[in-house]
Every structure is written in structure tokens, then in C-alpha cells.
């Protein structure tokens, strides 16, 4: 029996439920020969801002137990160079492209979103809401449901594209923010962003990272991603969620799908093994076959007795 791996996230179709997460595919020129693009459900680009961004000071990387702590600071060439150079290369792979849209003000989000409106190959946008809002002294857009909703609504309006709101996986306002984004017109939610973390180099009496705080990714955060996906999909049935955080294997992906995700994204594992999407897709297919199921959608949110779990 062959299984149907394509997924439909409320009208946006991906050939497999396995996408590359934002910031893990370079400019599209680098890893193509190490990746079997035919297994990709799509590629989420690095986060694009209106103008070129130098990014964070180095060091930008520290390895922590089962985790990667990093702070790239949205280094990117700006939307014009992105559309001229990166995007045609990415689109040439023939897989759906989701552009991660960033900015330090609402206007910056809108500048990128409107520039991407009719870009070939782009099926959706992902609004990177955990980034700091300059107009609110650097607190993130995602830290207030109304601000996050405002960005999502505006990005959706100027682009005319489906918008996934990328949110952090921790914080008491998680469900509230996700809900506000959905009400404002978010097509779906992407969970989770790297978890804020820190590493100290005792020998140098210094933070291990130039920007001091970074985002923790990799297997260490997978339980956090699972919980966030579970909470949000339970509270907002019918709102598609992309699950991202520490996925390395088909089993990891299946767990996220069972928790409620409609698709998963591969982040840090891409950096370690660029063939990860292929093995994750195989793993999902194998699981479906072993359970006698025909499509990836059949396991979405199918955790048993999930209703018995107390609301946090």
C-alpha cells in the first residue's frame, strides 16, 4: 500500500509534510548537492528584512547538551537582493517556498511582505514575530497578542499570501497570541522559535555568544515544541500548525504530527545532516504503513486521551 505524504494546510499544499526551517538552507546555493529536494515539502527561507542586515557580532555559536545555542541576528542581503539572487535559485528546486519575513518595525514587515507579493515560487509567508520591536524598546512583536495580530493582519493584507505566524514556544501568552494571530487572519502558526538561552565561557569570564543571549535549538527543545504545538492546536482546532524544534527522525516528526502539527520543519538537523528530510519522510511513510494508514493527515492530532490533560 502506498501512502499519500502530501499535506494541505488549509489550502496551502506541500508535497510532503517535511519543510526546511528558516535559517537552515543558506542562500540556496550551498547544499543543493547534499539534499534530495524531491523529498522536501518546502523551504522556509532565512528571515528577510527590507535592507541588508549585518547580523549579530561573533561568536554566534555554542554547542550545549543536545542543543545548539546560536545568534545570527537575521543576517541577510535585504529583500531586493533576496528576490534577485536567492529566490530564483530556491524556486528552481521546484518545491514550495515560504519566505520568512522580518523587521524591526511594522513598516519593515510590510516592505518585505509587499515586495514578495507576486514573487514566483512563493506559496506563503512566515512572519518572524519573536524579533524585537524598535517601537516598543526592543520587546518582541510576539510578546503582545494585539501587536502580533497587527503585524499578521497587515502582512496578509499587503501580500495577499497565506501567512504563518512564527511564535516562541514559551511564555504564558502563547495560546492567546496564537489565537489573536489566527483571528487577525493568520493562515497558520509556526511553533516554535529557538528558546532564549545563554552559555558562559568561564575561562574568559564572558558570555559564549557575542550578543550574550541566543536561541536554543536542536533535540534539547523538542519537548518544548511538542507541548506548544499540542496546546495551540487543542485551543485552536482548524488552524494549521507547522511544528519545528529538534526534529531529526521520522519518529520525532510523527510525534509532532500526533500532537497536532500539520507539517514539520527541520532546522538544526539540516546543519548536521543535510539528508535529514529524506530520512524523516521515509520514517513518516514507514510509520503510516505500519499503522495501516493512508495519509499523513490521518495522524494529525490523533493523540489518545488528550482531552484528559489538564489545561495549564
Amino acid at each position: 500500500m502506498s501512502v499519500d505524504l502530501s499535506v494541505d494546510l488549509a489550502g496551502v499544499r506541500f508535497p510532503t509534510p517535511v519543510l526546511v526551517a528558516s535559517g537552515c538552507f543558506g542562500t540556496g546555493a550551498e547544499a543543493a548537492e547534499l539534499v534530495d529536494v524531491s523529498t522536501l515539502g518546502g523551504i522556509v527561507t532565512r528571515t528577510i528584512t527590507p535592507l541588508p542586515e549585518k547580523g549579530a557580532p561573533t561568536p554566534r555559536l555554542a554547542e550545549t547538551p543536545s542543543g545548539m545555542l546560536s545568534a545570527v541576528g537575521l543576517q541577510n542581503p535585504g529583500v531586493e537582493a533576496f528576490l534577485g539572487e536567492d529566490l530564483p535559485r530556491l524556486a528552481s528546486f521546484g518545491v514550495p517556498i515560504v519566505v520568512s519575513v522580518g523587521g524591526r518595525t511594522l513598516d519593515e514587515f510590510l516592505a518585505v511582505a509587499s515586495a514578495c507579493a507576486r514573487a514566483p515560487g512563493v506559496v506563503a509567508l512566515e512572519a518572524y514575530l519573536p524579533s524585537p520591536d524598535d517601537e516598543r524598546s526592543g520587546r518582541s512583536f510576539s510578546s503582545r497578542p494585539d501587536v502580533a495580530a497587527d503585524v499578521v493582519a497587515s502582512v496578509a493584507r499587503v501580500s495577499g499570501l497565506p501567512v504563518f505566524a512564527k511564535l516562541p514556544g514559551v511564555g504564558s501568552e502563547l495560546v492567546e497570541t496564537a489565537s489573536a494571530c489566527a483571528r487577525a487572519g493568520a493562515h497558520g502558526i509556526t511553533l516554535i522559535d529557538g528558546v532564549p538561552g545563554m552559555s558562559v565561557d568561564a575561562e574568559r569570564l564572558a558570555s559564549a555568544l557575542g550578543p550574550v543571549v541566543g536561541g536554543l535549538t536542536g533535540p534539547a527543545i523538542r519537548p518544548i515544541a511538542l507541548r506548544a504545538v499540542f496546546e495551540v492546536t487543542r485551543a485552536l482546532p482548524g488552524v494549521p500548525v507547522m511544528g519545528v524544534g529538534g526534529v531529526r527522525t521520522g519518529t520525532d516528526a510523527v510525534e509532532l504530527l500526533l500532537a497536532g502539527a500539520g507539517a514539520v520543519q527541520i532546522g538544526t538537523a539540516m546543519l548536521v545532516d543535510p539528508s535529514t528530510p529524506a530520512s524523516v519522510v521515509d520514517g513518516i511513510a514507514g510509520y503510516l504503513e505500519s499503522k495501516g494508514l493512508r495519509s499523513a493527515a490521518d495522524i494529525q492530532g490523533r493523540l489518545r486521551s488528550s482531552a484528559a490533560v489538564p489545561r495549564s
Binding site: 535559517g23 537552515c24 538552507f25 543558506g26 542562500t27 546555493a29 550551498e30 547544499a31 548537492e33 547534499l34 532565512r46 535592507l51 541588508p52 542586515e53 549585518k54 547580523g55 549579530a56 557580532p57 561573533t58 561568536p59 554566534r60 555559536l61 555554542a62 554547542e63 547538551p65 543536545s66 545548539m68 546560536s70 545570527v72 541576528g73 543576517q75 564572558a206 558570555s207 557575542g210 550578543p211 550574550v212 536542536g218 533535540p219 538544526t268 539540516m270 546543519l271 548536521v272 545532516d273 543535510p274 539528508s275
Partner: protein, 290 residues
Amino acid sequence: MKRVRAEILSTRRLGTFRTLTIVAPEIAELANPGQFVTIAMPEGREFFLRRHFPIHQASRRGGWAGTLEFAFEPAGLGTEWLSAAEAHEFLDVIGPLGKGFDYPRSLTNCLLVAEGRGAPGIYFLAQELRAQGKRVDLLVGAETQERIFKPIEAKRLSQTLSVRTEDGTMGERGTVLDAIAEVAEQSGSEVVYAAGPRTMLRDVAAFCAERNLPAQIAVDERMACGIGLCFTCVVPVARRDGSRYDNLRACWEGPVFNPGRVLWDRWGQGAPTMTPTPPEGFPAVRTWPG
């Protein structure tokens, strides 16, 4: 770049260094000095990012054809695991990665400076420059004798070899910086190559700028992917015309850079540089290698 499952042919322990010779003809065929390989870590451990190592030797002919050698000093979970690897085990290897050294066309006298774990990659360069008929003078330094990599091979690869150790256990007491002016003058150096810790590279850069010597350095940066995907290993490098700078990836645009264009004060400083920088005050470097 190629990704291969490579058998370990042999391992050696040389002072503080371990060397691994692996069977990787696809990579050896393409490898140039300055380039590196990444090695995957084992499954199911808390350390999981690939480790990267400069290529020390790539054999394309003779009895060792198709083999590749790299060296490292165990200093952490990944390298300690790798130092326990034995012959006939297999490694997941990606390489050759990065942009290697350029060779001078007309100039012939090359001074190669290496400190600590910069040496294995520099010796590969020495061999290739010799094969091109260049004069190679080697200046190698470390804290102590144990950390001087393959001194006999260094001697064989060079017209002159100068060794400096901080504790005086091999060669003369001191650092490569104490010796660089003297060695450069005695050997009539026209081009300088260097690899080693950042502080040493910065001093070599200053020396070369002062003497107007063309130079190339190989940086040794923390990398997550090594294949250009993640932008964690960047180095601030001025554009050729000095109009502005770019944060270039050590793994993709590097690890070899022109030290005259590296913005040493900006590199690795804690000060946030989140805003686009005004186009002024960067070095314009027009000398080879551009």
C-alpha cells in the same frame, strides 16, 4: 563538496596531536590547501554538531592514493570521541569545504607561519607550493614541544624551518611573532601565509601591512554546519574598494582571507553591530590576492 562514508586507514598520536588517515578518494581528488572536512558525531550523544578540521594531506598518486589526512588536538567532547576512533571504523565525512589558498604567480619566496593547530593545514600548503617551484620557509610556534606538529616533516617541506616555543623546549624560546621579522628578512620573503589563533593572525596581519607584504590567512572559527547554511562562522571583511564590509562565512567565502581586509577591531567584539554600517573607514586593499 562530497559526502562520503570513509574508512579510517590509520590513526597516530603525535605529541598532543592525533592524526587520522581516511580513505576518501572523492574528497582527496578535489582537496586544496586551506580547505577542510567536517566529521559527523555519533548518534545518541549530547554533542552532535559536526566537527571541522583543516586537510593536512590529500594523496592523489602513489601507494597512498585516495587517502586524506587531518589532525587535531583533543579539546572537548567531539574531539575526545574522535581521538578514540580506530582503524577500520567508518566516519561520515563532508569535504573538501571552503575556499583554499591562492598561489602567487610571479613571486617565489613564501613564508608560511603556523601556530598550534594551524600547522597541519599549513604543511599541506608548503607541499603544494614546493611542487609549484616556490621557495618555502616555515616558521612554526607553540607553547611547548608537544604541540609542535610533525617537526621532521616541517623540515623536509621547507628551505628553512624556524621553531619557537614559549617554554623553550624546542627551537628558540619565544613566539612566531618574535621571529617573523628576522625570518622574513633572511629568507627574502615576498608572500606570507599564516594559520593559527586569532591573536597571532592579527599580529601577522599587522606585520605584513607594515612591510607591504601580500598575505593570506586561514581562520579557525566555530562553525555549526561548515557548508554555508547557518551563518554562524562569519568574519567581517572589507570590500576590495573599502566602500563597506560584509560578514563573510569562514566556511564558504573563507576560511582563507586577505588579512589586510579583515576588520580586526570589529571581529568578535561584544559591541552590537545590528545597524547597517556607514560606508567609511574601511581599508581598501588592492594588492594581491585581492
